[in-house]
Symmetry: C2
Subunit: 359 residues, 2 copies
């Protein structure tokens, strides 16, 4: 409902400019635009350049559109792994990525720690790993991987590709693209857009790997395999009829973010996270679920609420703030708070004030 | 652009109610709605029941959401074929469906006729066929399969599943669901919606086949395999975060179509097709591309325009009518006219009038 601020970590609060962009799209005929026209190519180019500029994507990397990040779990395994991927599992979503590899007939390895925990920096070495699959921000638990954890794998596994699921953290984190080969997200979280679009960034090494698999007779899928995505993206097109309106809106919102300044978005994200974690750490009833400070996510903040989930949810609803449910079996004891560009400092200050009143 | 009627066969003219539905969606918070809420389940249920009612889908069939019909080409091969599918190829899209099967490592068989032609009713028998893949309406050429052609396969291939791609014909045709096992379409054509959603209808035999493949160790994909789609659809959910707004709009537009009456939509489609084919058949310059009357599509009408494509396109643009380009290499000599529920009788009468003035 309008007037309610949605803190659910995706689909989440829609960025405040989106409704006007949708109105403009209808005015300009975007919803009925053929995906084989120059007009669509311009829309697609604007969106990919917006993503590149916002995230600092260097040359040698390509930006492709899929329908969801869930799809990218599948496509990345299909196109980048003949046999062995290595997964760091610490929650429901990193686990699903691992399971996709099994479902596609690969033999993935997992390094697993309990829910709510991060990983030790010292990682046991495994042979024959083709892909390191990292979930930067585990949306189910609010655990985030430190950048130096991600960046260690290039040296440790010089022959592996490194893929980072940054679904519920981008555009906040600044990744070092020299340390990773693939990065992906979906637009209904940090980009504040309606769901139905995934963005997959890959470098030339990923393309080469998919071609190598194909040459060995391993199926890499059809329309959304990397060579097909690359071939079409060179014309700023897509293999299938895509979510044209979603791509249009991504171009508009990345432009809005760039005007606001990614530096300011990052600073505001850190400010909002700091005041909420501070409020949780000093609260009598509620506490941060992730105890290790260096593993705490700045974009999905999980609160341990003991038996007060219902009371807190209702109190917040009473002032127009919709907390996100805890994930899965933690629904009864936790609440999650997305901290995306669509959530203003004022809304976070109000949230912190309201939580402070609960004693 | 508003004020221009778009006859491109998909993405095509948006149905006239859609913009108001989008406005209502934003008012009601649909774009930021979590896909794990009761509200989403109601939206999803409304859309699937709308599709069932409109197309007369019987019990024993399930309605699933994907991101495109292109995706369904892949998923249907992946989930319904161990080795051999049989494809009837008479244009670019039926050919792509065939090629997807090769890309997924199957050994498809094709029965191919020249572009613009239909198939003889007598079909040579092939052994070991698991899936008959039929493209009801070849969007590239305006050739449609007669219903008695589709309905013959149940007896001829009692052990095969029969899948029908009805991307650019539904909701117009009434299929006999006792003669087919799977039917699919995407929403940006006959349903007059923004692109980014496919609808896949399958029966229990399809589910059983996918489970059989899985039990044999054949990969049927991950999140969008049939058992996963079925499991989630039982709760009116989807495995991934879907195009929530697209599903909402599908529910709204199917309700609009049902209020208008599918019988009336069919009658109007036939009226519009009849007057355009009549105009083409009696025209001095332009003629119907599909010469065999029983193979002509009522929903995508292709006009042979010789060297007059540019002149005709400009004449029509001058009165607010946007003809669809010919497909591929036929762009220089053909125009295509979508005849969907979004195209009114008055617009078709205007189109016929304008074509009549070209001499």
């Amino acid at each position: 409902m309008k007037g309610i601020v949605n803190f659910t970590p995706g689909p989440s609060q829609i960025y405040f400019t989106v409704e006007d962009h949708v109105r403009a799209a209808f005015r300009d005929g975007v919803p009925s635009l053929s995906h084989r026209t120059k007009e669509f190519e311009n829309i697609s180019k604007t969106a990919t350049e917006g993503v590149r500029d916002l995230l600092g994507v260097p040359s040698g990397f390509h930006v492709f559109f899929t329908s969801s990040a869930t799809e990218i779990w599948e496509r990345s395994i299909q196109n980048l792994v003949a046999t062995t991927s290595l997964h760091f599992v610490n929650g429901a979503f990193s686990k699903k990525y691992y399971e996709v590899a099994s479902q596609l007939g690969k033999t993935p390895i997992k390094i697993e720690v309990p829910v709510g925990k991060g990983f030790d920096k010292d990682v046991a070495h495994h042979d024959g790993v083709e892909l390191i699959a990292l979930t930067h921000n585990e949306t189910s638990t609010g655990v985030s991987l430190p950048m130096n954890f991600i960046n260690q794998f290039r040296d440790q596994y010089p022959n592996a590709l490194i893929a980072v699921d940054a679904v519920s953290s981008l555009p906040y984190p600044q990744f070092d693209f020299s340390k990773i080969d693939s990065l992906f997200f979906s637009v209904q979280k940090g980009f504040g857009l309606p769901a139905g679009l995934g963005v997959w960034i890959v470098n030339d090494q990923c393309i080469a790997k998919s071609e190598e698999l194909l040459s060995k007779g391993i199926s890499i899928g059809s329309y959304h395999n990397l060579p097909s995505l690359l071939q079409h993206s060179k014309k700023n097109q897509t293999p299938e009829t895509p979510n044209v309106l979603g791509i249009y809106l991504l171009g508009k919102v990345t432009a809005d973010f760039l005007r606001r300044g990614i530096h300011i978005i990052r600073k505001e994200t850190e400010y909002k996270a700091a005041i909420l974690y501070q409020a949780l750490a000093t609260h009598g009833i509620i506490s941060p679920f992730v105890t290790e400070v260096s593993h705490r996510s700045n974009t999905v903040i999980v609160a341990q609420c003991r038996d007060q989930v219902k009371t807190i949810t209702q109190r917040l609803e009473g002032v127009g703030l919709q907390a996100g449910d805890g994930y899965g079996e933690n629904k009864a004891t936790q609440l999650r708070f997305a901290n995306f560009p669509a959530h203003s400092k004022e809304q976070y200050e109000k949230l912190v004030d309201e939580l402070g009143k609960i004693k």
